[in-house]
Symmetry: C2
Subunit: 550 residues, 2 copies
């Protein structure tokens, strides 16, 4: 019996590569024009191929090259990807180069994923969260070839990823140590990298891409678009949840709802005397909306999944707050930050598209297979967690009061939605669209982003429903109806029971919190537009062009 | 406002080190005899200091040096440690150098931890699982100084950890990118390391230790000590759980119970036709007891938290199975393997000391503050997990059948215990000793290893209780009593109800599974002693001396 098949196969691939590239291979480096030759030489039919691409940086040059391979020579690839964001990510299936997919998120391409799946051109293994997908790379889905992106490489293959380290270390480690092939596109090849993010002996091939890798400023929200309803909801969040539980370690989802909270920390939260009491430690990308809170001394530290375009100089000038390398730029790490978001944070707060009567929430809609990203991981009670904090203990006490169970803490998981989203679609529904999608996409179970039994609070413009305090399924349903406003679900409430829940503090309205709704204006925002954010940063924040109208 | 205090403080420490060490500092290297000078120069009172030490490798030279510092100069350190295993780990508190502790496990030193805590010399922050503690290093507990261990370093500080990579990358990353000081003890300084496990520019000081770092072969179990009751329990596990749920991806705890299962895979499981159907992918250290199953082709892959002494040559010769670097030796990674154990495995199975009537289990006993290690993390339902597998779906269906909840999967968490442990202590109790310990150690909540609502099966010599199928607290209690044998808890059963649970398949006896108890002999073990394991390995396994009587 041979125990060395992976290594032998690796050697054969490397030999084919050397034969195909000949003199154009300079150590580990090859010219960009020879990328197809390299891929034809080292990729085998049926391979598991991990193409790096997250909601931020993309190994777009390599992805494009892969999609344009000769499908007669290379086909039936099993793609492993954090995010499907670019057209090439689907072209690879359209053209028959790949046929199977395991992934985490496909926001921009969700409709095309669904179309290709129902046309039989794309067989979905499963949808994951990021850390879950990385975990499988080490167990049952090790990549045979990985295609990654870095800022720079030296001639030994040492990689500098700069602030957008993101998924790279986890992908490369899983591939390299199972005798896979590691191919990296870099923005430039240099004599000495500013720091080593991935050691050169884990890397096989380096190609300088004709263009810098694509990067999406996904976490930038223009404060000009924040509504006064969002300001009101942010006030309720701060007074009714952050202050109530003394939340010091947390993660925010993406969106205007949480951006509003970030922008109210130095104004509204400051006026409540909450500086130093809430929002000190963050598992969060460098959100520009957090700048005023950082400047006001609200924030002690931020550890990031990835970076954010335009924030480089600001981060560099605030090394006490961010994780900075010896070269002075940030190092992010999606795997460790997801672990930290799950285990070292007391709260996740984010938005969703739909919530049902049990509190299950989903961003899935019919005809769009979009996935979960990181929300399911951070928006789940960390049942393996054991260290206590005031927020965690209080949530746990509320969940277990009067019950005959052993005491433990619980993570705060807050879903923050306006009762109607765009086009007057109700955010509250009797049945999630996820059920329809399950049937369409032949999934084993409906794709739920956050399960109802993990959600502790639902916050709308009508109030906060504290699900921890509900003792029966009926109470939970009425608590949800009681903040669902004029949606059909909200109108279907049992008014007496809802009033009873309010008396018991399970439902809290703005007025119950002593919030004067007249103060809920955009004047409370620490920055009202992009220019304000730049100003707050002392000119260090440099927003991408599309966010600038000056 | 200064935003650069960490960097300035780091620079001051480095300057003090250069001044103290003068010419004896050669680049990053210093002689072992100067270690106290270095530590006095770079460690400040009140620092958070992470001392590497797990249940396997120990930065023992650095730990010893730290414990012997002048407490008048360096005191009130806040120690961060995965495991407290060596006397030095407590000496540091005894001598007043440190006063606060955040940790994961203290097995061998648990009684002394409790004594020092009650004497007021050791203030416990919290007890964590490994991944949880690493997570906090990135959020609210970044180490100011870390003291780590590696196999070798080159003159640039590039580290080679060899097979025992373990916690090193997570600790160094968290420290180095928050401008902390990274000090490493190495077994040797070399010109070129066999591979780079940690890049040199993340490392500040290298000291060659007079002795190689201490390492404990914690996962080695001599098959000669496996009892026939353990063989019977292993048969029940294989037929009643592994086969029943088609468990392909899993983690085993430490101990003879699970070692027996490993040794029955090539014999009993093979006879049931289970090769290729169960036990293919493992998140597991290289257990010697797994050798016969590997040789029989049962095992596709093993990813490890750390390595195991004596397994080096065997691992080297089985590169298809283990994660192997370009140098031919394994790379382990505790953080990623814990993530994988949580998110990419369908089952955790392990032993415990005590189980209560709700299924809560704990290894805490009065007067011993021992901690959790990794079991709580892997023995918890991964609520952030979204990908399906047959095992996960079946467990989820059983848990939710007849209930009005949205379908989802669930992790299998099996607690395997004999009804009486050593000295005839019952494993089943009305109330866990954890409650007493909570009061003694002034903890906020009792230290539970695995919560009852995460446990899916309890397996004893009397049978298997499937808690997934229980529908009320009373059923759960009787299911537990029904496998608790002649312990007081077992004798307190409602016999009619237990028979009813058996009729419904909630309790399964060996005979219900068609297991002939007469076959449960040591003859079924694929290896009956250490020599058999060596033989099975083709002479590649080289057991540590204490396990050899030849």
């Amino acid at each position: 019996m041979s125990w060395n098949t992976l290594q032998q196969n690796r050697d054969a691939r490397l030999q084919r590569a050397r034969a195909a590239l000949g003199n154009s291979l300079d150590g580990k480096s090859l010219p960009a024009v020879r990328i197809a030759d390299l891929l034809h030489a080292v990729v085998e039919c049926g391979d598991r191929v991990c193409l790096e691409g997250n909601n931020q940086k993309q190994a777009d040059f390599l992805g494009h090259a892969l999609a344009n391979l000769d499908a007669a020579r290379v086909n039936n690839l099993h793609m492993l990807q954090s995010v499907l964001a670019l057209p090439e990510h689907l072209d690879v299936f359209e053209r028959g180069v790949a046929s199977k997919l395991d992934f985490s998120f496909s926001g921009p391409q969700a409709a095309r994923v669904a179309r290709l799946a129902s046309a039989g051109k794309l067989n979905i293994g499963a949808i994951h969260t990021y850390l879950e997908l990385f975990s499988r790379y080490f167990i049952d889905l090790p990549p045979r070839v990985c295609l990654i992106a870095a800022e720079a490489a030296d001639r030994h293959g040492n990689l500098y990823t700069g602030p957008n380290t993101e998924d790279t270390p986890a992908i490369v480690e899983a591939t390299a140590f199972k005798q896979g092939i590691v191919i990296v596109q870099v923005n430039k090849v240099v004599d000495t990298v500013p720091r080593v993010d991935v050691p050169g002996d884990w890397v096989d091939f380096v190609v300088q891409s004709p263009r810098p890798y694509y990067i999406e400023p996904l976490f930038t929200r223009d404060p000009a678009q924040i509504s006064e309803i969002q300001v009101l909801m942010a006030m309720m969040a701060i007074k009714g949840i952050y202050a109530e539980y003394e939340v010091q370690r947390l993660n925010h989802g993406i969106g205007f709802d949480t951006a509003a909270i970030e922008l109210l920390l130095p104004t509204y939260a400051e006026s409540l005397g909450l500086r130093g009491k809430i929002g000190k430690h963050w598992a969060l990308n460098p959100h520009p909306a957090l700048i005023p809170a950082i400047e006001a001394g609200f924030v002690s530290s931020v550890h990031s999944f990835g970076s954010e375009l335009g924030m480089e100089e600001y981060i560099h000038a605030r090394p006490d707050v961010f994780a900075i390398g010896p070269d002075g730029t940030m190092r992010s790490n999606r795997a460790m930050c997801q672990a930290a978001g799950h285990y070292a944070c007391d709260m996740f707060i984010g938005s969703t598209l739909q919530i049902d009567l049990q509190g299950n929430s989903s961003t899935a809609t019919a005809g769009r297979i979009s996935g979960f990203g990181g929300a399911s991981n951070m928006g789940a009670d960390a049942r393996g967690r054991r260290h206590a904090s005031p927020a965690w203990l209080k949530a746990g006490e509320q969940a277990r009061a009067g019950r005959n169970t052993i005491p433990r803490g619980q993570k705060l998981v807050v879903q923050m939605v306006e009762t109607f989203r765009e086009h007057m679609q109700p955010a509250f529904v009797e049945k999630l669209d996820a059920w329809t999608l399950m049937e369409q996409a032949k999934m084993a179970i409906p794709p739920v982003m956050i399960y109802g039994d993990d959600v502790t609070h639902i916050l709308t413009e009508e109030g906060i429903a504290n699900l921890l305090l509900c003792r029966t399924d009926e109470e939970r349903e009425q608590a949800i109806r009681g903040v669902a406003g004029y949606t059909p679900v909200g109108l279907g409430r049992d008014k007496r029971m809802v009033e009873n829940l309010r008396d018991r503090g399970i439902i809290t309205r703005a007025e119950d919190l002593g919030i004067d709704k007249r103060l809920a204006t955009r004047d409370l925002l620490a920055a009202r537009n992009m220019k304000d954010l730049v100003r707050a940063s002392g000119g260090l924040y440099n927003p991408p062009k599309r966010f600038r109208n000056w």
